[in-house]
């Protein structure tokens, strides 16, 4: 922050000189690869998806066979109970995992900050789930949760306790993938909040304790308000991760039992690669993107409103 402030003042003086110096072809050449790659591999597929969404698409002898059908694909959506279920499952998953990881991550950050030593070690340990491949995370939890050979049931039966069969039950499987996600991604919320916490001027906190505030009071009315941007940022990232989630369900529950853990990405994959229903898969993808766009706009609108409300 300081460095950027430091930079901003002097260039204003030299603006006229910079204009004819830094504006050469290199300026545009340097962003060209980015533009080409994004247009080619993201914008083109987006366009292809919209095109496919309005047609019946089949692969005949390795070639796409396209028949335009207008809104035919979209008309099928309201009657598609599995798609509706997948939206509900994703919503349940996202709300539960975002709330739990944000609360736990924030508490852990606040507690870590109170430690006299060992913070660095704790941070190094907690970072591990966030960098190990989601595929491996699925394996790790399969080795714990498997009804026959999982460690949890081995321990439970050694203690003569009833064994768990979470992955075989509808609510249990959802609870299990939420639990795995919490284990997996609480660290990232922790890192966010903890980094922000260490950036807070310690004199503010000292002033509060000199004024006689208890540790809990200081945390609640001094520290937490200062952390709101970091917590909101972490929550936003967690929401996006929740929408994208795929690997853990694919490997741990395969969307089941039944369709209890079929989230959006799992259902899209099965429409495209099990049913080869490309046009319909594209229509569903487009619908999901439009829903997300609405959510993003609502989120930005809400942020604007609260800002205006605060400054008023």
């Amino acid at each position: 922050m300081t460095s950027r402030l430091g930079v901003e003042t002097p260039p204003r003086v030299s603006t006229p000189r910079r204009r004819h110096q830094g504006g050469g072809a290199f300026k545009y050449l340097a962003v060209l690869p980015l533009i080409v790659l994004i247009l080619g591999l993201i914008a083109f597929p987006l366009g292809a998806m919209i095109w496919m969404a309005f047609g019946q698409v089949r692969i005949v002898a390795g070639q796409f066979d396209y028949t335009p059908i207008g809104f035919g694909n979209f008309e099928r959506i309201p009657a598609d109970t599995t798609f509706i279920t997948s939206l509900v499952n994703s919503a349940v998953f996202i709300i539960a995992t975002v709330v739990i990881t944000v609360v736990l991550g924030t508490i852990l950050a606040l507690l870590t900050d109170r430690m006299v030593r060992g913070q660095q070690l704790f941070q190094n340990v907690l970072i591990l789930p966030a960098i190990i491949a989601p595929v491996v995370i699925s394996i790790i939890w399969l080795l714990l949760l498997s009804p026959q050979f999982g460690l949890i049931n081995k321990v439970l039966s050694a203690l003569h306790l009833p064994i768990q069969t979470l992955l075989g039950q509808k609510a249990g499987a959802m609870a299990a993938i939420i639990g795995v996600d919490v284990w997996h991604w609480t660290p990232i919320v922790f890192l966010f909040v903890y980094t922000a916490l260490r950036g807070i001027d310690s004199s503010i906190i000292e002033a509060a304790s000199v004024d006689g505030a208890s540790a809990f009071q200081t945390a609640r009315s001094v520290i937490l308000p200062l952390l709101v941007p970091a917590i909101a940022g972490a929550a936003a990232i967690r929401v996006v991760m929740g929408v994208k989630v795929f690997d853990e369900m694919y490997l741990l529950t395969f969307g089941g039992p039944g369709d209890a853990t079929t989230v959006i990405s799992i259902y899209l994959r099965s429409v495209i690669f099990d049913r080869f229903d490309y046009g319909y898969g594209a229509a569903l993808s487009l619908t999901v993107l439009l829903i997300m766009l609405v959510v993003v706009l609502l989120g930005l609108g809400a942020r604007g409103l609260t800002r205006r409300f605060r400054s008023a």
Binding site: V31, L144, F149, L268
Partner: protein, 276 residues
Amino acid sequence: MRSSLSSRVIIAIILIATAVLTILPIVWLIVTAFLQSRAIVAPGIDISFALQNFQSVFDPSADYGRQVLNSLLIVVLGTALCVVVAALAGYSLSQLNWSPRGVLIVLAGLGLLQVVPPMTLVPGIFVLLNTLHLNNTLGALILLDAVFNLPFAVIMAKFYFDSIPVELRESAAIDGASDFGAFRRIMLPLAMPGISAITIFTAIQVWNEFLFGLVFTTGGTSAPLTVGIATLIQPQQIQYGPMAAVGVVTAVPIIVLGIVANRQIVAGLTRGAVKG
């Protein structure tokens, strides 16, 4: 802030318990990988060590050796492509007199792209790869992994270059350096800590990638290691021992990197993402 001894003890207990809960599942993966298959399926806890899981994984007839190689190739080339493109674009956006509005539009666009679930783009990418005859090739995965990590990498690179004073580039220009020369010899070395954080972070993401490998390869010798694991998890018949062994092979390099390059990874996980 000072706190009483008893509250410090309680906090320490909570944090130690959290650390143990974090480590224990990972340790059990590693232990399982070294267990005999008899011990894994035994009803109780039986700890009989053997190397048979790793032997079956690295048997020349198995695909895993090839898949490790595939994953390494994808990581090296995909990360290199991503970082080079991101460094160039980030530098230009940060230092070369773009209008603030233009920069904002590019950054907002890149931020929005990060919100798009990759699975929704799969039908369109499928068409693209078919047209280019890139289906089931490593080249496709290298391109896709590079591009889908670009938005984050560019945003981070831009902010790292922001911390370098413009004057340095100007004096290089006065000394007769070309625009590219100033970038390569002056600015890039100064931004190296940031670039290395981006590199490590991107490499981890690419190594861990699963979705594109799953849907755009036919598995076997053309797949990355993460997809190889999936073939061991068939709903009715899970091969726990080899599965754990491949899991260890996939996770251990990242764990080692996590210990060695901790600082860069934390920077990668926290810094650019706030702005994206």
